[in-house]
Amino acid sequence: MLFWFLAVALIASAVAVVTAAKPVYSVIALLAHFVTLAVVYVSLSAEFLAVTQILVYSGAILILFLFVIALLSSGVDSFEVGPDRLPKLPMPALFALVITLVAIVFSAAHAFAHVLPVITPTSQLAVGSAAAFGSVATFGAMLFTSQLLPFEITALILMVAVIGVVVLAGDHATLTPPDHERLRAIRRREREAILREGEAS
């Protein structure tokens, strides 16, 4: 019963994210979505993940989104201003989505109804004891032993994010007038001359 309640909440909040009229509403809907998802994780005994979900997503990522919305000052405007230049897009898009969705759902139902294990009560879990599954301790132990390599790589990924943002933003902050402006103008004129000559011939 809880599953169905959560499912409805998840889908509703996702629909709200996609259809909201203003970016800020989308962020709020996304927040609701993430929190609900954390509840689902708890229900599947993934405690540590639930906590991470709240901390990282709601605490960090969504705040970033809010910052950018504020920075671009379009957060309060509605999303789509101006004419839609691709009015024929939605129908084929929905067509593609429905086909793929049906493919996955159909084969998933086929697969898990007969072949694979259904979700079992915690007491029958293969891993250690029931309490260990999903716990912070087990998670941490795995992360620092058998899954050490992926963990180390995430450090690199975060480093890339930091440096990448700094480089992109730094470029933006230090807007000095380029030395090559004059040169570029000259070259542009030359090329246009060649182009004209090419067209004339």
Partner: protein
């Protein structure tokens, strides 16, 4: 503890995943497109956690944790790019960005 059929979880995650794709394709605001990507990643995570539980293997949890980390990094870089692209434009619309084509 509410435990349901595994295929229910997969179906739910598939639906969420495709709501995310719809967000990417149908919306013109890059911020919402990025949120669509976040929805897709979270849908994957939901399926991962469910599968993990079904198989009794916590590798899925590790995987989901990595996905969350990557999503954070991706959001950071993505937002930076959006700021760089749109910081001077009057409206935030990806359809305005079409000088590369052909």
């Amino acid at each position: 503890m509410a435990v349901g059929e595994l295929s229910n979880y997969v179906t739910l995650s598939a639906v969420l995943f495709f709501l995310g794709v719809a967000g990417v394709i149908l919306r013109r605001n890059p911020l919402v497109m990025l949120m669509g990507v976040e929805l897709m990643l979270n849908a994957s995570n939901l399926a991962l956690v469910a599968f993990s539980r079904a198989w009794g293997s916590m590798v899925g949890h590790i995987f989901a944790f990595l996905v969350i980390t990557v999503a954070a990094a991706e959001a950071a870089i993505g937002l930076a790019i959006i700021v760089v692209v749109f910081h001077r434009s009057a409206r935030v619309d990806v359809d305005d960005v079409t000088i590369l084509k052909g």
